[in-house]
């Protein structure tokens, strides 16, 4: 479910960024897909959600996720950083370098949970994570997820 909804063009490589910057960059990527009506609302929702509880799920992975009004379909975006993302807390204390953002229409409650679960399951695999972190382009990352 995760792979089917992630497009190669929505994968970005970042370096030396803090949490807010990477989240805003991902919001921009998602907005540019044309499936979200307002970048401002999306950003506001994503940052508000992070205030409630950090989405750093451990193992160096962050999964910011929101259900948002004005979203037509599920949209995913991914950022891979060459260094730990500053200010991104995670439950096991491991610095976050892989961030997958999930944006789901407001009423797609079940789909939201399923995609989130799918991502967590996939990125638990250390070989996958290593492949992602050692990739040099979006294309390589995309292939490593397959």
């Amino acid at each position: 479910m995760f792979i089917e909804n992630l497009e190669e063009k929505n994968i970005i490589l970042v370096n030396a960024v803090d949490k807010d910057t990477v989240l805003k960059k991902l919001c921009r990527v998602i907005f540019e897909t044309g499936k979200v009506s307002s970048e401002e609302i999306l950003e506001e929702r994503v940052l508000h959600r992070e205030k409630l509880m950090s989405t750093g799920i451990g193992l160096g992975v962050g999964v910011p996720h929101v259900r948002c009004e004005g979203v037509k379909n599920v949209v995913l975006a991914m950022a891979v950083s060459d260094s730990p993302i500053a200010g991104y807390d995670s439950i096991d204390g491991t610095p976050v370098r892989i961030v997958v953002m999930i944006v789901v229409p407001e009423h797609n409650h079940r789909q939201h949970i399923l995609i989130l679960s799918d991502i967590v399951q996939l990125l638990k695999d250390s070989a996958k994570r290593t492949a992602i972190l050692s990739a040099h382009s979006s294309e390589e990352i995309y292939k490593s997820l397959r």
């Binding site: 959600r49 509880m53 409650h109 079940r110 949970i113």
Partner: protein, 551 residues
Amino acid sequence: MAFLHNIIFSNVNILLLIGLAIFGGTFGGRLFQKLRIPQVVGYIVIGIILGESFLNIINAKMLAELDPINSFALGLIGFTMGNELRLNVFKKYGKQFMSILFYEAMGAFVCVFVLIFIGASFMFSLKMAFVFALLFGPISSATAAAGTTDVLNEYKTKGILTTTLLGIVALDDVFALFLYAITSSIAGNFLGHGDVSLAENILEPLYEIGGSVVVGVISGLLLSRLLNRYTDKDRILDFTLGAVLFILGLAAVLKIDMIMTSMIMGTIFANKVPKKSSQVFGAVESFAPPIYILFFVFVGAKFNISQMSIPIAVFIVIFLIARTAGKMLGANLGARLSKAPLKVQKYLPMCLFSQSGVAIALSIISSQRFPGVIGNTILIVVTTTTFVVQLIGPPFIRYAVKKADEVNKDITESDVIKSMRAKDVMKSLPAIREDQTVQNIVHTFSENDSFDYAVVDSDNKPIGCITVASIKDALSTENLLSLLVAADIMEPVGYSVTPDTSVEVIQHEMSIHAIDYALVVDAQQNYIGFIENRFIDQFISKKMLEVSVTV
């Protein structure tokens, strides 16, 4: 002024007239209700204003054209009255009903007969006076359902006085028809109109009543079978109204009694499928008010002050006094002899003044059978007295049912819902904060007995709701439990209301939004409580139980 009158009123068509009558009648009814007078009086007063006595918007010709509406109203009244005639009630009170019915009807007949004879003998020959007495007597014995049921419905009465009153009103028309058959035959022979024999005169009402019973029973059985198949309220109403109209038309073709036929159809239906009856009669009662308003507006419009003359005025006064006294004395005597409860003995005599359908029908028959002075006098006197008793009768019924402590006892679920506000049914359940984890939320569910909870932000403003279904989805993915907060699994706010929002509106909105809960917020939009559909059901059940215990 005459020019203006022509422009405004000469082009009054039927639709305009009906609209005017319903609108004006409703306005008059509300106005009188505010003055604590039954609405029906307001409808009649508006009728008088619109009628020939004043504005002349509704004239006799129009009233004749609109007569099917009167028949429809009487048919609906008869049908809904049928619901009151339950077999178990008859088994219990049948003897009592018959005793009261006989004495109140005979009381009116005897008093009117004697006093009309005395009064008429001063103005006419003894022979004419005797004929007047013979014809006015039985007409006075009928009591109308219209004007009675209307007040009982308006004040939601229930109890032994209401049951007895409805039983009497439903049955004394039969008595009046028989009595009239006998006395009119005597009167005819007395005047030398020997064209119709006494036997023929008795056979005619026998045919009317027997025919009504046969048609009413068959149609009641067919309607029971038909409506038993449907649960949809609109379809039930369509079939029922169709059946009432069909039966009224058939009764007219067969020349049998319309009200009695529809009443028997209602009785058979109510006794055959009692579980369905509240839905069916409830649907008819929700449809009927505009038809009833028209009926009473037309009663008022029939009153024509220009037809008054001294003999007619004298007859009117005698008829009113004698009928009232006879009915009161007779009802009291009948109630005492049958050992009816004290409040029936005391207050029933005040409830039997109403007169319309059968009395007017008999006066029309009299005017045709005895053309000239006798027929015209009877027609005008009965029409006028109908108007007077329909004005004075309802306030007396209101007074009696109030004194008998039977007001506001016939409470239905829909009445309870209409009286309820959000604050009556909401529960002050704890809200879930948007940053609460799933483990914490599960704890909240286990501590309280609700299936749904509001989710609030840091300012206590509701932003969503968590249901058992949302918790179930979250729990189905074990690897996420520590990663999810309330904001992730909640549903967005479906519908929020203030404490004073009517529950009727809340139920309607819930069905539109396809949800079974509503959040209650104060003027500042802060969360204060939660409403679930089942809280509403529990409250209604409790209220209905309280009402039934009180009754």
